[in-house]
Symmetry: C2
Amino acid sequence: MEIKRPYLMFLGDAPDPLAAKTAYGVAYWRPDWCVGQLRLPGCQADLKLKDMTIAEAQGAGVKTVIVGVANRGGVFSDVWVDVLVEALERGMDLAAGLHGRLRDVPRIREAAERCGRALFDVRHPTRVFPVGNGKKRTGKRLLTVGTDVSSGKKYTALAIELEMRKRGMKADFRATGQTGVLIAGSGTAIDAVVADFISGAVETLAPDNAPDHWDVIEGQGSLFHPSYSGVTMGLIHGAQPDFLVMCHEPTRRHVRGLPHYALPTLEECIEANVWAARRTNPAAKCAGISLNTWQLSEADALRTIDEIENRLGLPTVDSVRTGTAKIVDAVV
Amino acid sequence: MEIKRPYLMFLGDAPDPLAAKTAYGVAYWRPDWCVGQLRLPGCQADLKLKDMTIAEAQGAGVKTVIVGVANRGGVFSDVWVDVLVEALERGMDLAAGLHGRLRDVPRIREAAERCGRALFDVRHPTRVFPVGNGKKRTGKRLLTVGTDVSSGKKYTALAIELEMRKRGMKADFRATGQTGVLIAGSGTAIDAVVADFISGAVETLAPDNAPDHWDVIEGQGSLFHPSYSGVTMGLIHGAQPDFLVMCHEPTRRHVRGLPHYALPTLEECIEANVWAARRTNPAAKCAGISLNTWQLSEADALRTIDEIENRLGLPTVDSVRTGTAKIVDAVV
């Protein structure tokens, strides 16, 4: 099930840019797919795309309207529904990464059925996955992992895919979260899968491939995060990564959302993730470290990158400031 | 939601005792709750309980009919449905640990609604769980873990609950699998929870309690099992165990169902599980080892128990042959 392109980004009445962070992620990584944005009165987000009505989007050949904004209190307002129903009636599909489901809104579901259009609730996998079997698959795999949630795992994986493709390598970003799925046009929000099928879902997401093909798999959570470690563990075992890239936000002082939990050190976090990965791929190793240094000045960021690279003896980058070339060099 | 007692055990037309293993587990651990069994023609299972019709069960005060048998191909035959509908009409609830759901059988759902009876599909949690928060809870907790699936985790936890209660300790078995839920009358089949909520579901299952109260939590899967390690990891973090008991089947040569995976050694398995547990309870330690030696002669079993106890320096038992007193001694 691939989400059809190009996209119109629906920003609704986003109260601030953060509410539209999914839309920003898609527009940043897939500018060629995003031909316009639709903003309702009061919208405080702006992707700097051409503002379009649904009719104009139809004229521009839009195939899918991406609901790239959090809806307030999980509720779809009538104004939203009017716009989204018009999109269905004008022949476009809808895709959303919300907690609530498009198909649970009666007018939207009814319009989709009547018009024969698809609804992609990417946070709610509907397909059935097999139980993981741990069998060795062909092709190469790289998985981003992290010392915490929100440490740059998606961004780093996308940057590595980009770097690999620039070099003419066969590489596909494999999305495991809702924003990633909208960026890739396919994938599975792995945290929404039933627990017994986590590793099986990842095996399905990154199946046998050509020996020189790279799956660059988006990581989730952290082995050290008391809320999400189960997702991370199943993801690592299902991914069978040849290489891990450890993502880290160097100014963070405790686990995000859990001030009573200290972050692990990079050393212990690498050791634990490599240990877990070797269960399904005995050759697994850490290829390098990707720091998210947006909170630091350029000088402090570069100094931190140097310090960590020297301390750990592993290629260390910031996907934004330095690019990921050093890590791709290390894995090829 | 507590399943009401006493139970009538419905064995259907089980082709062999293995098909009724859930029923055997409930009848073994909760003989006082099981007042009879109902077997259809051809049934090859026998719990040695009084055979009863639904009308006789009603007369005996049965509150819930337990569907303790795997249905062939996941299908409910008309004969099954006739019996189960009669039970609803005579005022009993139904509980089942099947892959298919009672409430998905139209005649059963309709009868339950008409008669105001409850349907417990214990393999399909319907409630919403919070995301785990890792906050320290009061009370004591013991979690069984294993070198593999089917290594005696449920049996050991139930045997420890029994031993603790014999000593007058406050102890509750906390069920995390479908048979366990039917034995406890409550609990959560943790492998059926959405991945993001594994640890949160366990936090809910074993909440704050009196300082001298023990939650004896049923383990699932294994950190070394490529199919289920995510469930195990989330379960360990959510349980915050003070003590782990490592369960092991000493004749097993590879991971059950995955001949391409060797079992971990007891030493590495204990180290990994204690490491994981210490993330949410820094005082966690391994209290002992519980061997499932049913495949060995009495002499070989006792020799194996001795050997492992001497090698690891930890109390080692077989829940059936020796009881769990040595482990309970170690934790008090």
